[in-house]
Symmetry: C2
Amino acid sequence: MNIGEIARRAGVSRSTVSYALSGKRPVATSTRRRIQDVINELGYRPNATARALKEGRTRTIGLVIPPAGNRLTHMQLDFVASVVEAAARVDLDVLLSPSGGGHDRSFERLVSESRVDGVILMEIRLEDPRVGRLQAAGLPFVGIGHTAGDHQMSWIDVDYAGLVQHCVRHLADLGHRRVALVTRSRELISAGYGPARRASEGFEAAVAERGLDGVEVPCGDDARSGQECVVALLRSHPDLTAVTTINEAALPGIERALADSGIEVPYDFSVTGVAAKTWAEDFRPPLTAADVPALDMGEKAVSLLVERIAAPDTPPRHILLTPPISLRSSTAAAPTGRPSRVSRATR
Amino acid sequence: MNIGEIARRAGVSRSTVSYALSGKRPVATSTRRRIQDVINELGYRPNATARALKEGRTRTIGLVIPPAGNRLTHMQLDFVASVVEAAARVDLDVLLSPSGGGHDRSFERLVSESRVDGVILMEIRLEDPRVGRLQAAGLPFVGIGHTAGDHQMSWIDVDYAGLVQHCVRHLADLGHRRVALVTRSRELISAGYGPARRASEGFEAAVAERGLDGVEVPCGDDARSGQECVVALLRSHPDLTAVTTINEAALPGIERALADSGIEVPYDFSVTGVAAKTWAEDFRPPLTAADVPALDMGEKAVSLLVERIAAPDTPPRHILLTPPISLRSSTAAAPTGRPSRVSRATR
DNA sequence: TTGTAAGCGTTATCAA
DNA sequence: TTGATAACGCTTACAA
C-alpha cells in the first residue's frame, strides 16, 4: 500500500495524491474527494521513512536516558513521561537511547545516522563527552541538566545550589545549629554529577554564611540506604537536629530511621529538601521542600529543542528553575535545651 | 556527508563503499583500507532512513506505554527499562508511544506509517482495540499482558490468578479465616484491566476452596490510597487478620496504616501479595510475596518480538510466568483467641 | 575485483 | 488543475 497504488485507484498521478494530502497545491474538489475515498477505504498513510528521506527530517527526537542498570528515579521517570507526552502533542515521536556508561552503540546510532532531528540529553555530567559529540555532529540538542563550563548549549535545570541554600537558611532561621545534607550516591558524585556537586556548594555556602555545623553524607538512591545513612548520622552526631536532602528516593528510609529512633518530626527534628511533589507529600509528616517541577521540565525541554531545530543558529537558551519551598509540616523550631535527643531516644 | 562523497574521495563507486561496509561482497584489501581511511577521517555512518527505505525495515521497535498522565508504576518502569536495554543489545532502537486513552495519533502513526518493524504493547486490556488494529495492519507485535479471548497473538504475562490463589492458600494454611484482597484502582478494574480481574478470580477461587471470609477492595496506585484503604478495612472488618495485594504502590501505605493501628506484622496480622522485588524487600517486615520478574519480562518480550518479526507466520507463543512465592517475614500463624486485634489496637 | 543502474516511497519542480 | 520526473541516500542485482 503506497501512494502509487492510491493514485492508480483514484485515476490520478502520484503527485496529485501527495498534494491532496498536504494541501500545498490546490486540488479540484471532485478529485480530492475521489482520492480521499480511496484513502479512507484502504486506510492509507504515507510511509514515514520515505517521507523522512525526502524531507530530510525524521519528525523524531532522541531522548537519552541513563542506562537501565541503574533503576531510574521517579524524577527521571517524570522527565521521560513528560517529554514523551509533550512530544506527542506536537506530533513528534521519541526514540529512547540508554546511554552514559562509556562506549555506546545506541547513542552513536542516534547522533551519526540521522535517525532523529534533535536530542534531549538527560543526566548530564559536569564534564560530559556526549555534549561535544553532539556539537561535532551538528545535531540540535538540549540538556536536562547542564555541564560545568558554559558550553554553547541550551539547557533547563533546577538550581540545586540555590535551593539547598534556601533550605539550610530556613533551618538556621528556626534555630538549628547542626544540620546534615543527605546527598546522592558516592558513585554519582565522583562521576561528576551536577546536582550533587551543586547541592554541596549551596550547602557549604549556607553553612558558612550562618556559621552552622554542617555535615554532608552520600547516600544511595533507595529507602534502605536512606535509613542506614540517617542511623549512622544520628549515632555519629548526637546533637544533629535537622537534615536536608536532595535524595528523594531516600526519603522513606529517612522517615523510618527517625521513627525507629523515637524521634518525632518536626518537634524533635526537622527534615527538608528538594524532591518531586509526590515524594514530599508522601513523607510523614508532609515534607517542607522545594518541589521539582519535573513534568514541566520535560515539556519545556521539548519546546527548547523544537526551537533549536527550527533555528539552529540562534544563541542557546538556559532555563534555571528555582521553585519556591513549600512549607509543609516537617520543619519546626529546633528543640530547646536538654534532655537531648539521645536521652529521649533511649528513655 | 553521504556514501557518494565517501566514494568520490576514495576514488571508487558507491557500491564498493557499501560492500566494504557490509562485507557482502569481497573488496580488495587495499581498496577497503582506502575507503576505511576516508570513513574514519570523516566519521561517516550510513543514513538510517535511506537504509530503512531500501531494506524495508527500520531496525526500530515501538513500545506502547500507558499515557503519561497516569504516572507509571515501578513495575511498568522496569518493563520499559528492560525492553530498551534488551533492544539495545540487539541493536534495535525503541520508539516510545504513549497510548491507551482512546483516540491516539501517536499509536496510529506507529502502526500505519511503517515507522517500526514491530510493537510491544504494555498494559493490555481484556478487550483491547489496539490488538485488532495491529493485526489489521499486519504489524508483528507481542503483549506484556494478554486479552480475555485468546486472540492470535504472542504475549508474556504473570499468572495473577494463580499467584493470588497461592497467597490466599498460604494464609489459609496459617490459620487465617478472614482475609482481604487489596487490588488496583476502581477505574482500572472497570476499564477491564487484566491483572486486577484475574487477581479477583484467583482470590475468589481460593476463598471458596478454603471456605474463608474474603473481602476485596479497590485501591489507587499510591501510598496514601493504600493507607486509607487499610484503615477503612480495619474499621469495617475488625476480625480481619490478613491481607494480600497486587498493588505494590500501595504497600508503603498498608505498612503505615497497620503501624498506626498498633498492629504488629506478622504477629497480629499477615501481609502478602505479588510485587516487584524492590517493593517486597522494602516493606517492613520484608514481604512474603511472589516477585514479579519485570526485568526478565521486558527482555523476553523483546525476544518474542524479534522472533515474530523474523517469522511472522509462525504460530504465536505465550509465556505465563508463575514466580514462586518468596517466604520473607510478613506472614505468620493467625493470632489465636481473644483479645482481638481491635482491643489491642485501642488498649 | 569493481562499476552501472534500478528501485525503495515520498515530495516538489517544471511543464502542460 | 494536473502529470511526468528528478531527487533524497542507500542496497543489490547485473555487467564487465
